[in-house]
Amino acid sequence: MFHFSFKGLTFDSPLLAASGTFGYGDEVADLIDINQLGGIMTKSVTLHPREGNPPPRIAETPAGMLNSIGLANPGVDSFIREILPRLSALETAVFINIAGSTLQEYVEVLDKLEKTDAFYAGYEINISCPNVKRGGMAFGIDPRTTERLTRRLRERTDKCLVMKLSPNVTRIEDIAAAAEAGGADALSAINTVVGMGIDIEKRTPLLHTVTGGLSGAAIKPIALAQVYKISRSAKLPLIGLGGISNYKDVIEFILAGADLVQIGTLNFKQPAAAVRIREELEAWCLKNNIANLHDLKGEMVSSC
């Protein structure tokens, strides 16, 4: 039904779990067979433990949600001690998502991980988090810093290096080109879209940080357009995400130029969404005589 390989990794499902929406894989292990996923992007890991932003951190919006978690996580040392051994035992491809406030922090996290003998596919580098004061998205809105960071990380690892891009830029294709020039193995897009909401009775913002990141079905058309733009210019494998809710959305992303996709916010509602969508994709491929769904990559017919 699906087959795609790059950088020595083979995927027989196009569906990966998006960072921050699947934890470290074990939280919902009772509810889904994790090895049925194409892969997992972990919650962002930082050099030091981070307590995250004050509440409220999430709010529901029409067909989506706002979040401003602020990268709450136990930090890389405790991640290596307590979480990595378990992840390393999974059959599915595990990508460790790294975030940092400075270039040096990204490098140190990666170095610590490289020193372990754990087994995992590679890294997804979060240069696109809109919810932290320093770093995060700052790296992903400037092509030069993107290229410099990518190159520094590339020099230090042979594992698969995926750069995760932000939609909150004028020309995402320039950032994609910078990551490509820096030596990335693949790109993922998009992270959340900057958004906000206000409680009109209390006159207070819905999130403590006022603005946050919008995700869910509401952002799918934005994500699709960004993936399309990147795929027209970059040669690298591309992982599309943003608002995927069903198998049709997955096919749209592949037609727009994605090689693989990630399921994010949908996991909160349906922890086993990726398994169900995979079955639906299989049925669709069977019905349409498609041997390998990946063959549809970029196969959108230009004129409507």
């Binding site: 919650k43 951190r57 922890p271």
Partner: protein, 263 residues
């Protein structure tokens, strides 16, 4: 933790403000303890991204019950459930009430916060553990119990239409006055709206009474993944992982917290 399509076996209006639904799930029912909650989908065509958390209010055999109040679109949809309808539930989730056998339990429930309190009340009653129940509501029609101080059930109403006129603190004081145990031998178990939780928590801290409170926050996953349900603690909770000692997760570290952590 289980995810099941639970069949609605009955839905009844229990008071002017509260509906009660019985749901069939052998797995969730068997695993549920007082304090737990489920995260459910109001309907199968539910487009909003978040489930709705609801406390388990009772368990009997393969059936568990929830009690809800209508506040918005999700609970509005729930009211239209009919027997036979299948509800997608994940649970049981969260932590549970503890140490109710080591102290004299004072159960305090306000509004729909009575749900997890009722489960504990039934459990203690079944286990023949002596306790008091104090339930607060705006008016008599919202109450699920009968005012019966002799058997330890105290009702309060804001409008004085039944039981004690006033808030749960007044009921709590009367209940305490009636039992021989000293403050150190008491423990309060409380769930209600934020203002009530604060009043009860501050009363307990001042009176030197142990107190656990179940809190409500907006939740997306309910399973500790999204980190969205954080509540700010007033003291460092050293029993939690270091990054959650200040901002704890209501769904995983809670929803029940010691009062001194909250106020």
């Amino acid at each position: 933790m289980f995810q099941e399509k639970c069949r609605v076996t009955s839905i009844i209006q229990r008071s002017t403000a509260l509906w009660e639904v019985s749901l069939l799930s052998p797995a969730i029912s068997a695993a549920s303890r007082p304090g737990h909650f489920v995260n459910l989908l109001p309907s199968d065509d539910w487009s909003p991204p978040m489930r709705r958390p609801m406390s388990i209010a009772a368990v009997s055999g393969d059936i568990f019950r929830i009690i809800f109040k209508i506040v918005g679109s999700g609970t509005e949809k729930m009211r239209s459930w009919k027997p036979g309808h299948l509800v997608d539930c994940i649970g049981p989730l969260g932590n549970t009430w503890t140490d109710y056998d080591a102290y004299f339990p004072l159960l305090v429930g306000g509004g729909v916060g009575i749900a997890p309190i009722q489960f504990l009340h039934e459990d203690l009653t079944a286990g023949r553990i002596r306790h008091s129940l104090i339930a607060g509501a705006l008016t008599s029609g919202e109450h699920l119990f009968k005012h019966d101080p002799d058997s330890g059930v105290w009702l309060t109403t804001d409008d004085g239409s039944c039981g004690i006129s006033g808030n749960v603190i007044m009921g709590l004081k009367k209940a305490i006055a009636k039992i021989p145990e000293k403050s150190e031998a008491l423990k309060i178990f409380c769930c209600g709206p934020p203002a009530m939780n604060r009043a009860v928590g501050e009363f307990a801290l001042q009176a030197g009474i142990r107190c656990d409170i179940s809190v409500e926050t907006v939740m997306a996953c309910g399973t500790g993944i999204c980190q969205g349900c954080a509540i700010e603690l007033q003291q460092i909770a050293s029993e939690l992982p270091i990054y959650r000692q200040h901002f704890a997760l209501a769904c995983k570290d809670g929803p029940i917290f010691r009062a001194e952590l909250l106020f």
